[in-house]
């Protein structure tokens, strides 16, 4: 098992390298002098350009430039144009918010989707199934901002039930659930509406596939009560692939947060990236992409390992 984990980590390293090289290329691809990417053009008279050039190795060969750039990012030296603070610091502040929303939404849609998918698999094409299929179709067809704006229209504008902006009431600090929960409900619902179809469909098809297997028939022939068949044999095998689904949807969640956080004015990574893109804040967008890609890659890695832990059929030798 340890060998398997080690092997997977080893496989992931080149990808990590590739991600950072891609990020580096992004900087190189900007037309014009690369110094414009690292130091804001308006401020260039005040800053000692040569010092910056030396700090980022712009006068050195490519490979060294790459290393200096990476060091700059992770040491927190890369300063964002619009925020005037190190990019890494901005990420540190905003990532928890996005993570909170994303994970809550994932968890919610996982639980709902799996529950409904399992129930629906017992009676395929029945009433619940047809209803959920329609809802699922709606979920994947709705643009994120439409769902969000619809929720805002009905809940905030018409019914005045929930606030429509920010992650906490203006001027407050801290992570107390009392403060945050009302602000979280609509964004999480919006995200979950888009994710639910995936979990529902996948669980349904996985359970149906399992229910058609021979060992289920054997169990029934043996005389095991239907309930036991379902709970002890079908469920365990059917829910296995759902583990992979969870990890695979993390990129969707991160991407979905971009539009979502813009609509709900939530200070998370998504909005950070949008502000950076609108302001042509190269260091910020670069750092954001790099961090996001690393996160996605790590979650894929974890999913692989988790799958190997949960499913004894996966070869770990």
């Amino acid at each position: 098992m340890a060998q398997y984990v080690a092997r997977r980590i080893l496989n992931a390293l080149p990808i990590l390298l590739g991600i950072s090289i891609c990020a580096f290329l992004m900087v190189k691809l900007v037309p014009g002098d690369p110094i414009n990417v690292l130091v804001e053009p308006d401020k260039q008279e005040k800053v000692d350009l040569d010092a910056v050039r030396r700090q980022y190795g712009l006068d050195k060969p490519f490979v060294q430039q790459y290393m200096y750039m990476m060091r700059g990012i992770f040491a927190g030296n890369l300063i964002s144009f619009s925020q005037r603070v190190p990019c890494l610091e901005m990420v540190r502040r905003t990532l928890p918010v996005t993570a909170l929303l994303g994970l809550t939404a994932l968890f919610l849609s996982l639980v709902m989707g799996v529950m409904l998918g399992t129930i629906a698999s017992r009676r395929p094409f029945g009433v619940l199934d047809q209803f959920m299929s329609t809802v699922s179709l709606g979920g994947i067809s709705m643009p994120g901002f439409v769902t969000a704006l619809l929720l805002v229209y009905f809940i905030t504008e018409q019914a005045h039930l929930l606030p429509a902006s920010g992650i906490r009431p203006a001027g407050s600090e801290g992570w107390s659930p009392v403060l945050i929960l009302p602000h979280m409900i609509m964004p999480v619902l919006t995200l979950a509406f888009g994710l639910l179809p995936e979990f529902y469909r996948f669980t349904r098809s996985s359970m149906l596939e399992v229910l058609n297997e021979d060992y289920i028939r054997t169990a029934r022939a043996k005389g095991v009560a239907e309930r036991g068949v379902f709970l002890r044999h079908a469920l365990r095998n059917g829910l296995l692939p759902v583990v992979t689904m969870f990890g695979l949807n993390i990129p969707h969640v991160l991407g979905g947060s971009v539009v979502l956080e813009t609509v709900f004015a939530i200070p998370g990574m998504g909005r950070l990236a949008v502000t950076a893109a609108l302001a042509r804040d190269y260091p910020m967008i670069l750092t954001a992409n790099l961090i996001m890609a690393t996160l996605v890659m790590s979650s894929n890695l974890l999913t692989d390992i988790l799958y190997a832990v949960v499913d004894p059929r996966v070869k770990v030798g």
Partner: protein, 290 residues
């Protein structure tokens, strides 16, 4: 939403379309989509008012017989604006998908057919590319290359080709071993010839299914990007930017935002219905999947 299997013939082109036609949902989807596309293409003919014509006396009118979709904050007729904006949105999405499919099929075919080292390297590149969350990657490219329609098309087209490539590669891997290919090779056909003339026509079915889903995704992506302000720039309007414009008036005139949104939703839903049915028609086994 299911299609019944054909008892006598399983694979081939005619039963494919027959199975497709049996699904009521797909037919509905196809009709709706055709209507929407025709409406967008014929926008100059169908629009009751010029889309840029302001009429400040009639601003923020709710939908009525005079203005079927209502008017916006400058008195412009929304129906006309939506039709013209739909043209922009749909064409961007379409071209982007063509780009994406072209790249994806090329890479997938080469990786699948060549195998070995080439396959390995290409798959690694795919893995790296897929690690970047799509929206963030799109934001990154737009930051670097600026905001314009060509960049928009490029961004939507290029950020997600790996998905197509993976599927195509899988198909090529399996088709590579079939007798038909071995025979062609024995007769001296070159690799390129085999890839394009022999295997490709058979893989078209899967490519069609994937492309359909990708069009849906591209429309959503364009709408999202334009909504944030990084897509289509004024004075051109797309469905997403129209929705963004209407945000301020959400309380008083929600139709400004919701009409373009509804158009996008209907489009994407129709495409999803078509895509689902295509996928079911492609798979000849009695499939109980949802």
């Amino acid at each position: 939403m299911e299609a019944e299997p054909d008892e006598l013939e399983i694979s081939g082109r005619r039963p494919f379309w027959r199975r497709f036609g049996r699904s009521r949902a797909a037919v509905v989807g196809l009709c709706v989509m055709t209507l929407l596309v025709i409406a967008a293409v014929l926008a100059p003919v169908l629009a009751p008012y010029p889309p840029a014509q302001t009429d400040l006396a009639n601003r923020l009118q709710s939908p009525s017989t005079k203005h079927l979709f209502g008017t916006d904050q400058l008195g412009r007729d929304l129906l006309s604006r939506v039709l013209y904006a739909a043209r922009v949105s749909l064409s961007v999405a379409l071209v982007a998908v063509m780009l994406r499919v072209a790249i994806g099929v090329m890479v997938g075919a080469i990786a699948g057919y060549a195998g070995g080292m080439v396959d390995n390297v290409l798959m690694r590149v795919t893995d790296i590319w897929l690690s970047f969350p799509t929206f963030f990657l799109m934001l990154g490219v737009v930051t670097i290359l600026g905001r314009s329609i060509p960049v928009l098309v490029l961004v939507i087209g290029v950020t997600a080709w790996p998905v197509t490539a993976r599927v195509v590669r899988g198909e090529y891997l399996s088709w590579k071993e079939r007798e038909m290919v071995l025979a062609a090779r024995a007769l001296g056909a070159s690799g390129w010839r085999i890839i394009f003339i022999h295997i490709l026509p058979n893989v078209m079915g899967s490519i069609l299914v994937i492309s359909t889903m990708q069009v849906a995704w591209a429309i959503l992506a364009e709408a999202g990007l334009s909504f944030i302000g990084l897509g289509v720039q004024p004075p051109m309007a797309s469905l997403g930017s129209m929705a963004a414009d209407g945000r301020e008036y959400l309380r008083t005139a929600p139709w400004i935002t919701l009409m373009p949104g509804a158009f996008v939703f209907t489009c994407v839903m129709a495409i999803n219905l078509i895509g689902d049915a295509l996928r079911d028609a492609l798979d000849p086994k009695m499939d109980v999947r949802g």
